[in-house]
Structures are given as C-alpha cells and as structure tokens.
Subunit: 331 residues, 2 copies
C-alpha cells in the first residue's frame, strides 16, 4: 500500500453541532451486518443492526442498540428474547429487507423460529439466541444486553458495512508476504517470483485503490453516481425500486436524491417515479466518459494484442472457477 503517512483531513467538529458530519465519521468504523429479531403477539419483528458487539464470555453476553424512534423499539424493549443472525456476504437482500420501511419484512425471507420464537435467518454466517438480560439508557438509543443461550457458526464470509456501503472482506496485503500458503517462493519478494493468483490479487488491489482516489477527485458521491447510472438505464423507477437496485440504505438514497434534485439532475413525475433530466443525462455521460478514459490510461503502453490475451486468460480462469463442477478435480 502506498499510503502517505498523514492522511487528508476531510472534516471535523463538535458532533452536537452537525450530526450528519458526525455520522460520516462514525461510518469509518467498519462492521458486519446483523439481522436482529424477536417474536411478538402480532408476529415476527426484525431490524438490521451494525451496533452488535460481543460483551462477555463468562457469563456469555452480547449487546446492541436500537433507536427510540425505531418502529420496532417497543417490540424489542418489551421482549424477553431476541436472536442475532450475522449475515453472510450473499445476504444483502436480507439486510435491505429488514432495514426497509416495508410492513411485511418476513414474508419473502427464509427463517425458522428459535428460542422464545425469535426468527433465525436461514443462510446466516452465525446465529446467537439470547434472553434479554438488561436494558441501559443510551441517549436517543437504548442498549440491549442479551445472555446467550445457544450459538451456531457456519462456513462462509461476512457481509460488511463500511463508509456507507456494503462490502466484503479481502485478505490484508501484509498477509501475502507473511503467508507462504499463497506465496510459495522461498525468498521471493519481487513480482516476477509471485504466483499468478498473487499477481491477480495485487493488480486488483492497486487498481481499486487508484480508482478510489480517482472517484474522490471526481467529487461525486458513490450513491449519486449509482443513482445516475441506474436511472440512465431504467427511467421511471420508484424510490423503492431504485433503492433495491443500488444496494444502499433508504436513508443514503434519500440524501443523494435530495442533492441530485436540488441540482436539477433528477425529476419526479406525478406518479412519484424518478427519471434523469437533460442535465442528469449529460452528467451520467460525462462520468462514463471520464471513467473509460481513466481505464484506458491505466493500461496505456501495453500492446493491444497482449491485453487481449490477458483478457482471454482471465475469462477462462473466471469461467473455470465460477463453474467448478464442470471440470475434473484430479489433483
């Protein structure tokens, strides 16, 4: 990683004066995503939470917090039990569903009732079933401490939420040097000695970091660029359909839409459907052109036929890995 010693200060302040700014600072702390659920006489209740934390091993306790303004607040405050499902990387849909304002969050989800009736989400990376032990005051939230009665761990990788968007975990670059499982050369530090899979890792990692810098310089948020792109392809989307397509939270989409509308890039028709304006289309095209130019620049100087071979090798490699059952495992 080529990080300068002192990173650029983006913003600072007293959080009591500007809560939005403070929320962005808090977003620098990456977390997994959990579905937290309980049973009520009116049926199952659930929310998406990233405030989950382990608390104690002996006794086994975990904690999380819920906003007093949440529609599920009373259900959790009054419930004797709750269940935590730590979501796997392929469960964005579960996270989106449980964080939506939909009335019936559970009809499309696969789940079964755990201890105390709390829904356990199928396909989760871990499930933690609790009896509510203590509730503490926490400003505009309350802290719920649960005593863990049963836990399960499944194979897979976690879904992440970091800096306002979903993500997945990747190995740390430092590991590639430390872990001979992926760098079987004895003394190899030079690129020439690295296995192809490590080159793929490094190429992706550097390219991704370069792209982040580029996006920052473009001075348009990820949410805004995703919305522009989706509305360009699919005019007349409802707010809900748009939110589903861009994989960002309702709140994030609402913020970005407000900014885009203010600058007259997006308009809402009488049916409440969203489309790009003339200037919105122009902005989307301009972003696209700049990205294409940037990508071309990254590979400048490498002969076209060698790039074509590289593309072809990568496609065969991806095809092979994406469809492992079609090949023989003869190793």
């Amino acid at each position: 990683m080529k990080d300068s010693k002192i990173p650029e200060l983006l913003e600072q302040g007293n959080p009591a004066e500007d809560p939005k700014k403070f929320r962005r600072t808090l977003g620098q702390f990456a977390t997994g995503v959990t579905a937290i659920t309980t049973a009520t006489p009116e049926g199952p209740v659930g929310v998406t939470a990233n405030s989950f934390s382990s608390l104690s091993l002996d006794p086994p306790l975990v904690l999380w917090s819920i906003a007093r303004t949440s529609r599920s607040f009373e259900a959790f405050r009054n419930s004797s039990h709750f269940a935590v499902s730590i979501l796997a990387e392929n469960q964005i849909d579960v996270s989106q569903k449980l964080s939506s304002s939909s009335e019936d969050k559970f009809s499309d989800l696969e789940w079964n009732a755990g201890i105390g009736g709390s829904p356990i989400i199928a396909g989760a990376l871990a499930t933690i079933e609790c009896v509510t032990e203590t509730i503490h005051d926490g400003g505009d939230h309350i802290i719920l401490v649960g005593r863990v009665l049963h836990h399960r761990r499944f194979a897979g990788k976690p879904l992440l939420y970091a800096q306002g968007q979903y993500g997945v975990v990747d190995e740390h670059p430092a590991f590639r040097a430390a872990d001979s499982i992926v760098t079987p050369t004895e003394h190899g530090q030079s690129l020439e000695e690295q296995p192809l899979t490590t080159l793929l890792y490094l190429a992706h990692h550097y390219s991704s970091a370069a792209f982040d810098r580029h996006r920052r310089e473009e001075n348009i948020s990820l949410a805004q660029s995703r919305i522009l792109s989706e509305l360009k392809r699919h005019p007349r989307l409802s707010k809900q359909a748009l939110t589903d397509r861009v994989y960002l939270t309702e709140e994030k989409v609402a913020d970005a839409l407000a900014q885009l509308s203010e600058r007259s890039h997006v308009e809402t028709d009488s049916a409440g459907l969203l489309s790009l304006t003339e200037s919105g289309h122009a902005l989307a095209r301009s972003i696209r052109r700049r990205v294409a130019a940037y990508e071309a620049e990254q590979f400048a100087g490498i002969p076209v036929e060698r790039l074509a071979i590289t593309r072809d090798v990568l496609i065969r490699f991806i095809d092979g890995l994406a469809n492992p059952n079609e090949t023989d495992h003869a190793a």
Copy 2:
C-alpha cells in the same frame, strides 16, 4: 458469488459450556479496529478494541467495552476522558503494539495529546474524543459510554478484523453490476463485455473464494500454516517476533503454538526460542506442495505462453499503479 443456499454448520452449542467455541462464533462478526487511549498520572494508556460502536447522535454518544482482567482496566474505569482512533488499513503495527503485553506501548507510536490528554494516534482514519459519561456492568467486561466532544474524519480505508485475522474492505460483487462507474458497458452482463479491471476483480474474487474452500479442506488453521511458514524460513524466533511476523493476535498465536507443540511440530529451546521439528518441516513442505499443485490445477488447460503474457501484463500494470509518480497523468 456461487454460494449454496444453506452453508455448512461448523459448530454450535451452549456458550456457557465452551467459551472458545463461542468466541469463534462471535468472530464471524467483522469489525474495524480501534485504538482507545487515556491519560493517567503514570503516562498514556491504550488498548486495541473492536467492541467500539456508535450509540447515539443526540446527545452524541459512543460505547466500547473492556475486560475486567485487562491491565488497563483500572486506568479506563477511573479516567474522566478517553479517545478513540479508528485505524486505517496500513496500521496493523499500531493494532499489534497496543494489543501486546509490552510495557511501553507508546514509545514507538506517533501520537499527540487530545482533550483531557488522551493520546490521538497519527494516521488514523477517524478520531473521536470523549468524556466518560457512564459505566455499565457487563459480566466479565464493563461497558464505557463516552460523550463525544470532537471528531475528525480522514481519507482512507479501514483496517478490518474478521474471523480471527486482519483484512481490508473490498467492493461487494453486487456493486460491479450496479455501478456503471466500473462497468461502462450499457447492457453488458457477459464477461466478454467487461473492462479489464472488472475481470481482475472477478478473477481475484473467485480465486480467493476457491482458495478458502481449499484451505478449509486442508484442515489446518490459517494461524498454524502461517507459523509453520515463518518458522521454516526463520528458525529460532521468539514468541514476540513470531507474533509480529504473522500479523495475528498474541492469543491466537499462543493457541496455535499450543496445538503445534502438542503434535510435536514445534519445539522451544532453552532460550525460549521456537523452531520447527523434523515433523514440522515435513508438514510445512507438504502444505507448500499441495498449494503449488492446487494453483497449477486452477490454470490447467491454458497454454503456458499465454499465461506468461498475462503475468507480464499484470506485472507492468502493478508496477505502473504502485509507482504512479513515474508516469504522466495526461488524461
């Protein structure tokens, strides 16, 4: 992602009966890494914590928890202030230093005193300065709630801790489809239409997932394989030097060493330095061979000269991105 609908259940149980198992389940929840610090009359005190969580916007509150057995427990319980530094992805060394049992954690760190004298770590992704608001009981931990007086957000990406190891955030695969900034083709879902950077991303992502499956089938933990590899290259390491080299926590290294010693793969000499035994060397060689065979299998069927060109293109690409200042930015 090709994930089967129902992931494999690895373990389950009552956490009161087997805390280690429970800890592994809790490790499925990915988190950022924070350095939490305070000032005492005896000097600065700090720990690494991943129990940090935002709590409330109005009033601005955050929380974290510390073990009653921590050597820094009394310092934090008695302190009027603390500071949270959310670590950036290039700060593994800070995390390792503050989580070590070293007597002088701050001498090698770059920091300055914030509100109430709490050390602020230089190079962090965010800093959050607090006055201690409330302390709640939490089993073998206590919960510290801080009222935030000042916050700063810096450019960069977060360090992660997930499933027992450090990591970095990568874009979610779903984004590659949703975000035209990286997929400038209008309707392109097929690999042939994707830009090379997306192919790199997909190739790395699939290869990494395949490798995880392979490692699981090998039935040897990541910590064990890293220790074997390091001791193979560098015999006679102290436990501390080994911990620094494998980028895993002291606890994790101690657990893995205990297992390797029990199976007579690692021995400790009279000076307390660690080396591989004959059988440890044999195991390290066997892992290495199997990895090499696995890597060869992934690229089977692709002509050698095309693989060589791909390697060459990737190396030029990585070199260009790793040394951006040597090229002209003429876009």
